[in-house]
């Protein structure tokens, strides 16, 4: 079943290598429906990977499983050489994984800058929230991110008043502000026009190196701008991996997408 999947011999991998994340034969069973079916994936430090696949292929479920929102029925998630499969969500995040959700998850009642300050806070234990004062380094980092995501002039308006695309950028900014080693970006360009999409691609390319980035998206022109290795999922399983160009030409990938299209047309 797993013949085409990448190496599934994680137990033997030395944690001091470049390996950051290893998803090892993970199955997620929702009452008989296998959203992930023995799926494996490895990510090296500082790399960019794009995850594509038809609707229901299990892309978001994979992100949910890595971050602990959904628990693996079997298999393991190894991060920095440690098994994080069963850790509480906030513990997983504290170890250096942060996720941008499909629908923008900004805190609409707080100002833009407060959203980022909460994300940038390094000490997230509750009893430290009573301390006064702002860490200068965190403040500088937030100012930096505000410039990068182009929201410096709107820092003090409530995040709920931002336009959709700006909310997407704010949430990317929040994910970056956490200093996570691994950023999971679920459909970062949803609802964006071509110009905004290009800017987002440029933004993400700048993040690579300092962070490892896993992007889920459908938009082919966005994928070409990202120019990263692509992993294709289908029905909770690994289908293909390769460059954007190779995936574009691949007959199996085309069949998966076309088959889906036909079904939808007839349905």
């Amino acid at each position: 079943m797993n013949a085409t999947a990448p190496a599934s011999h994680i137990g033997t991998i030395d944690p001091v290598t470049n390996l950051l994340l290893a998803v090892d034969g993970v199955t997620v069973d929702f009452d008989g429906f296998k959203a992930l079916n023995g799926f494996s994936l490895t990510l090296d430090r500082g790399t960019l990977r794009v995850l594509i696949g038809p609707n229901g292929a299990g892309k978001s479920t994979l992100c949910d499983t890595i971050i602990g929102r959904v628990r693996a029925t079997s298999g393991r998630v190894i991060f920095k050489g440690q098994d994080i499969t069963h850790l509480p969500e906030h513990e997983i995040v504290r170890r250096g994984i942060c996720r941008k959700f499909q629908t923008p998850g900004v805190l609409s009642g707080l100002s833009v800058v407060d959203n980022l300050m909460i994300a940038a806070r390094r000490d997230r234990r509750w009893w430290c929230s009573f301390r006064q004062g702002v860490d200068a380094e965190e403040k500088a980092r937030v100012a930096d991110i505000l410039e990068t995501i182009g929201l410096a002039d709107r820092a003090h308006i409530p995040a709920g008043q931002l336009a959709h695309g700006e909310k997407q950028w704010l949430e990317i900014g929040m994910v970056v502000a956490t200093r996570a080693d691994l950023l999971l970006l679920d459909e970062p360009t949803a609802g964006m026009g071509p110009a905004e999409t290009s800017q987002t691609a440029a933004l993400i390319r700048r993040l690579v190196g300092q962070h490892t980035v896993l992007v889920i998206d459908h938009d082919m022109s966005f994928l070409e701008q990202l120019d990263a290795r692509v992993t294709v999922m289908h029905q909770g399983q690994f289908l293909k991996e390769g460059s954007v160009a190779a995936i574009r030409e691949d007959a199996d990938v085309a069949a998966v997408y076309l088959g889906r299209t036909k079904e939808e047309k007839h349905g």
Binding site: I67, R69, P88, E89, H90, V93, R94, C98, R99, F101, G105, V106, L107, S108, G109, L110, S111, V113, D114, M117, I118, A119, R121, R124, W126, W127, S129, F130, R131, Q132, G133, V134, K139, V142, D153, R154, H156, I157, P158, Q161, M174, T178
Partner: protein
């Protein structure tokens, strides 16, 4: 564009202060106004009758509980329909002490004698000590609330389910008090107190002293809660209310933040219950069950659940109305209260405080203010 959402003063209504990411609490105009109000209120013993002073003292005590609900419900988004339990625990803690303090060696409180009890129940014994009683007023509700809310929030029970559990708690607590008549005084509760730590509670001096104590605690709680709401903790509490999952996936554990808020709310409710018991001279199951617990939420809904001052105003207004309506038309009060609640929820989601904020934001109010203040901006 940026200017349009700036208010002159950061108020709890708008959430975090807008003047900067972590602007510290400032003693701004609302606080100055509050201090002036406290000063006026401190003169009340010479301005109103003894009866009115007693009413005011009771309502102010309830205001402590209402401010706790602002933190729990308004800021934390956790609706508790069981604040009566914590109010009652505080009230019974101090009442038990006063019953015991009035007794001679080896005597039992009157109702225990009538019920045929021949020894003091073990859980009454520590309350002989005034220190235990006063600490118990805060610690019993606080510890219970912390354990209860930790168990519930850890399992991610929230929203309506949490409200229902707390309501069940209020029902169970009142039922328990009534059913354990020999050791709790049953339906009649505990009453007929004479002295607290040697002070004759019937004296004018005691009435004035207790009133000022209540006022001081209200003012202290107001300032303390304001500091807390303007702190990073307050910001995170509101953030959890608006997006618990987003906060969790930024690496925070929401549970302790909510537990802290709920515990503070319970401690304030316990203090309120103890003060109320001292002012009213009685504590009984009728004050702590489901209906009183819902009424407490209504005070805050009417006043404004995100405003400390609004919560106190709502508590005073609703209770004054209750005093008026229920003495003239005893049967009508609950209908009137229900109607007020429906109207507030549908028309004024921010309560009185929201209305005041909205009015202050209208252009004519701003123009009026600029005329009064003498500068146009």
């Amino acid at each position: 564009m940026d200017m349009s959402i700036h208010r002159d003063t950061p108020t709890p209504l708008t959430g975090a202060p807008l003047s900067g990411p972590m602007a510290g609490p400032r003693f701004s105009r609302p606080v100055a106004l509050s201090l002036a109000l406290v000063a006026v209120a401190a003169l009340a013993p010479w301005l109103v009758s003894a009866y009115e002073l007693n009413l005011l003292a009771r309502f102010l005590a309830m205001g402590l509980l209402a401010m706790g609900l602002v933190l729990v419900w308004g800021q934390g988004g956790v609706l508790s329909l069981g604040q009566g339990v914590f109010f009652g625990l505080g009230g019974y803690a101090i009442a038990m002490h006063m019953k015991l303090a009035a007794l001679g060696e080896g005597e039992l409180p009157d109702f225990m004698v009538w019920s045929g009890l021949d020894a003091l129940p073990w859980w009454w014994v520590p309350f002989k000590s005034p220190l235990v009683a006063i600490l118990g007023v805060m610690l019993v509700p606080g510890v219970l609330a912390a354990l209860f809310s930790w168990a519930v929030f850890r399992r991610r029970v929230g929203g309506v389910y949490f409200a229902l559990i707390t309501q069940a708690l209020a029902l169970a607590f009142a039922t328990l008090l009534v059913s354990q008549q020999p050791s709790t005084g049953g339906f009649n509760g505990l009453t007929d107190f004479q002295t607290l730590m040697g002070v004759d509670l019937g004296s004018t001096a005691a009435a004035h002293g207790l009133y000022w104590l209540t006022l001081a605690l209200v003012a202290g709680a107001f300032l303390g809660l304001r500091l807390l709401m303007n702190s990073r903790y307050g910001m995170l509490l509101r953030a959890i209310r608006d997006g618990e999952n987003r906060i969790r996936f930024l690496g925070y554990d929401p549970t302790p933040f909510k537990v802290v808020a709920f515990t503070i709310g319970a401690v304030l409710a316990g203090l309120a219950g103890a003060l109320f018991t001292l002012h009213a001279g009685v504590v009984s199951p009728a004050l702590v069950g489901v209906v009183p617990s819902i009424e407490m939420v209504i005070w805050v809904a009417v006043g404004g659940r995100n405003s400390l001052a609004g919560a106190i105003a709502g508590t005073l207004a609703v209770n004054l109305a209750k005093d008026g309506v229920s003495s003239a038309f005893p049967d009508l009060w609950l209908y009137a209260l229900g109607l007020v609640f429906v109207l507030v929820v549908t028309l004024l989601p921010g309560g009185f405080a929201g209305l005041v904020g909205d009015v202050a934001d209208t252009s004519w109010a701003k123009r009026l203010k600029s005329i009064i203040v003498g500068r146009s901006k």
